[in-house]
């Protein structure tokens, strides 16, 4: 038991048969807590995962994409993501993202990407001033990214959120630029896909323009507050997060599990 804790499996593979494997690096910071869910989910869609330590200076050479998991990196001290931004691995993530590698930051990963400046804007404390943990609906508004290409435009996904600091905020000029450039990837909505920023039932944290996820200018770096890796099996509540991972790994989702 102790041995297995001290020596966690660093690699996991879900690829079947021959063919090139798709390796996703999952960086782990002190306080990350979604890395095993992330690994499990990625393996389910056929990817191979490799954990990388926050003090590593480089990503493994075979890395094809990066998935920054949720948690509380460095205790969320100062601000969520503020300290993680200066970890050695973060510099390597920044270089890979700038070079066009697909990078997804979920929840704390989103906060880190914003603090790094790889994504515009920031995540402020929820409008209600408390931690939120429940399913929400989000609408896909751009299907040209590595994380949404297996979806249809305006598809509504039911995915859980789990955060205290998830209220997306950016100034007016940034928001205009995001909208004009198709960088608003996900917006909170009701089950029918209606978006209403002032409706705190469906825009759960009070995000400006009800934004739940954004991309960088090139579309290869994505941050989102909802956790797709926690919604990959309908028997566990929802499989709506699956297309996010399938988009990354396969591009399309034949036979994807649906509710």
């Amino acid at each position: 038991m102790i041995a297995s804790l001290a020596n966690p499996s660093l690699k996991a593979s879900g690829s079947e048969g021959p063919g090139p494997s798709f390796v996703v690096a999952v960086p782990i910071f002190p306080g990350s807590n979604c890395e095993h869910d992330t690994q499990y989910a990625l393996v389910q869609v056929g990817a191979e995962t490799v954990f990388v330590h926050h003090s590593d200076k480089a990503l493994p050479a075979e890395t094809a994409a990066i998935y920054i998991p949720g948690g509380f990196a460095h205790g969320d001290y100062l601000r969520a993501g503020a300290i993680a931004r200066f970890s050695p691995i973060t510099a390597a993530i920044g270089r890979a993202g700038a070079d066009g590698m697909p990078v997804l930051g979920v929840c704390n990963g989103f906060q880190i990407l914003c603090e790094m400046g790889l994504l515009p804007g920031a995540l402020a404390p929820n409008t209600q001033g408390r931690f939120l943990c429940r399913d929400v609906h989000v609408k896909v508004e751009n299907i040209a990214t590595p994380f949404s290409r297996a979806m249809v435009l305006n598809q509504v996904l039911r995915i859980p959120i789990n955060h205290r600091q998830g209220r997306y905020f950016a100034d007016d000029a940034t928001l205009r630029h995001l909208a004009d450039n198709g960088q608003i990837l996900f917006r909170y909505c009701d089950a029918a896909g209606m978006v209403d920023e002032s409706d705190l039932v469906h825009n759960p944290n009070g995000s400006i323009m009800a934004i739940a996820g954004v991309t960088n200018e090139n579309g290869n770096v994505v941050g989102m507050m909802p956790h797709p890796e926690r919604a990959i099996e309908s028997r566990l509540g929802s499989a709506d997060g699956r297309p996010v991972l399938e988009s990354l790994v396969g591009g399309s989702s034949p036979g994807a599990e649906r509710e």
């Binding site: 100062l78 601000r79 503020a82 200066f86 914003c114 603090e115 515009p120 804007g121 920031a122 402020a124 404390p125 929820n126 409008t127 209600q128 001033g129 905020f169 950016a170 100034d171 009070g206």
Partner: protein
């Protein structure tokens, strides 16, 4: 080389709704201070620093704010740098290194 005491006050931008500030404001109104208008809750970060001059200390602290201490997308800040008696800094250094 002089010794300076620094206080950085970080608060959410005024245009960003501050739920904690609003709750405190509501409580103050309920407790009989209706004249209270805008409540914002932030954090203060205190430290000592050795620098060649007050201006040099201020310039370094500003850089720290822009690099780490503040996220300008959602926060504003003020800096206070004061002459510090050496004894106070020595004491805080001692607290910092004992473990």
């Amino acid at each position: 080389m002089g010794e300076y005491a620094v206080t950085v006050t970080v608060s959410p931008k005024a245009e960003l709704r501050d739920p904690e500030g609003k709750a405190i404001g509501d409580a103050l109104h309920a407790l009989g201070w209706p004249a209270v208008t805008t409540v914002h809750v932030g954090r203060t970060i205190n430290f000592g620093i050795a620098a060649d001059s007050l201006a040099e200390a201020q310039s370094q602290v500003k850089e720290m704010c822009e690099t780490l201490l503040v996220n300008p997308a959602i926060e504003d800040y003020t800096i206070s740098v004061r002459d510090a008696p050496e004894s106070a800094l020595a004491e805080s250094a001692q607290i910092g290194t004992s473990s």
